[in-house]
Symmetry: C3
Subunit: 155 residues, 3 copies
């Protein structure tokens, strides 16, 4: 069995890769059925404000959201690339480990021009009860909230 | 002996560091003698097209290519910096492990101004037969194909 | 006990996270009492020149520097985000392990616009004598020396 740190690293490697490859069904499988998912501007996290740019209270809501996005975005106008940094974590409490992980996301348009889309951090609660690690909650704290295509895709 | 995940992480840490330090001889030592190396636009990977921006079918071709580059680029006009994300890998099949790893590369000019050069992912086949991990194949899938200095250096 | 590689990864995850969260007191605790800290342009590292943009010969000097910065920067005008790449390290010599780690730092202004601040690499000497890894020396080699807010914060 790999160490907890290595398993967390592999979970986030899967997370970013599956999003960038637009393999959303497999990405969803990284979440537990009760998992919540939010995208929140950094400012709101710091002020304790609740306003989220995307808020799914469980995996079904997240699945619905993805389905809607896929219908709207029939013609992709850019591809995404996540660069996820080193995860920071504490000892698990019960079956849950709290993890904080920085990220940068780049978008590339159809002419092959890449630009920084935004940076931020995942504040995650990850269940290590089963064979596989699963997100029990993932708050995407987005530093860059001034972005035109903000709600187009999960981060 | 470190775990496979840790050994893969160290291989990619070496890979990026040696490129950025322009220590190409040591970088070449990360490849097996039969290793292939390609730089391919993301679009071509997705469409199954063969057209590569750089294609070396074995280590000798890659060595020749590096030698040529060093002669042409006698005066460096920028330095490079690779930020390599978390590697994603499956269980090895025989002695070969398939690894997918996102990256971002920045260039800094002689005035000290840094810019994003491009993002993409390494699609690698890595041999774990010997004491050291070695690239058996490395496909550099480049999202950003609209770049002026594209062929100047390996990625 | 986690492997040395995992412990180094966690040290750098803490390093970047605590800086971005402006938890400078905790960040200082990652350094030994005798630790030196420097920010040096890449050019000077390559030429062997001593001129540093910031130079603290021990932890007290670094603490003083942080205190001064906090007084000057009473009103934060941007937030920072470190994306730290894969650490590269050799076998420890005595209690000291030499580590080289690439990084990118982004700044986000009050309108939520994020920009690349700079890229570079940490050249670190890390003590593994005690229970926790501690920086014994950290040289921040900065590729991007043409930056207006250069001395505003530690990197």
């Amino acid at each position: 069995m790999a160490s907890l740190g290595e398993r967390i690293g592999r979970l986030f490697a899967d997370y970013g890769w599956l999003l960038d490859a637009e393999r959303y069904d497999e990405w969803l499988e990284l979440f537990s059925e009760t998992a919540s998912y939010q995208i929140v501007p950094r400012e709101n996290v710091q002020l304790g404000l609740p306003a989220a740019l995307m808020w799914c209270r469980n995996k079904d809501m997240l699945r619905d959201r993805i389905t809607t996005l896929l219908e709207v975005n029939e013609y992709d106008i850019y591809s995404a690339r996540h660069i996820i940094g080193l995860p920071r974590f504490d000892e698990p409490v019960g079956d849950i480990v709290a993890v904080e992980t920085p990220f940068a996301v780049y978008h590339t348009d159809q002419e092959g021009v890449s630009r920084l889309f935004g940076v931020g951090a995942y504040r995650s609660r990850i269940s290590c009860a089963g064979n596989r690690l699963l997100f029990e909650a993932n708050i995407v704290q987005l530093d860059s909230f001034s972005v035109p295509t903000l709600l187009a895709d999960p981060l």
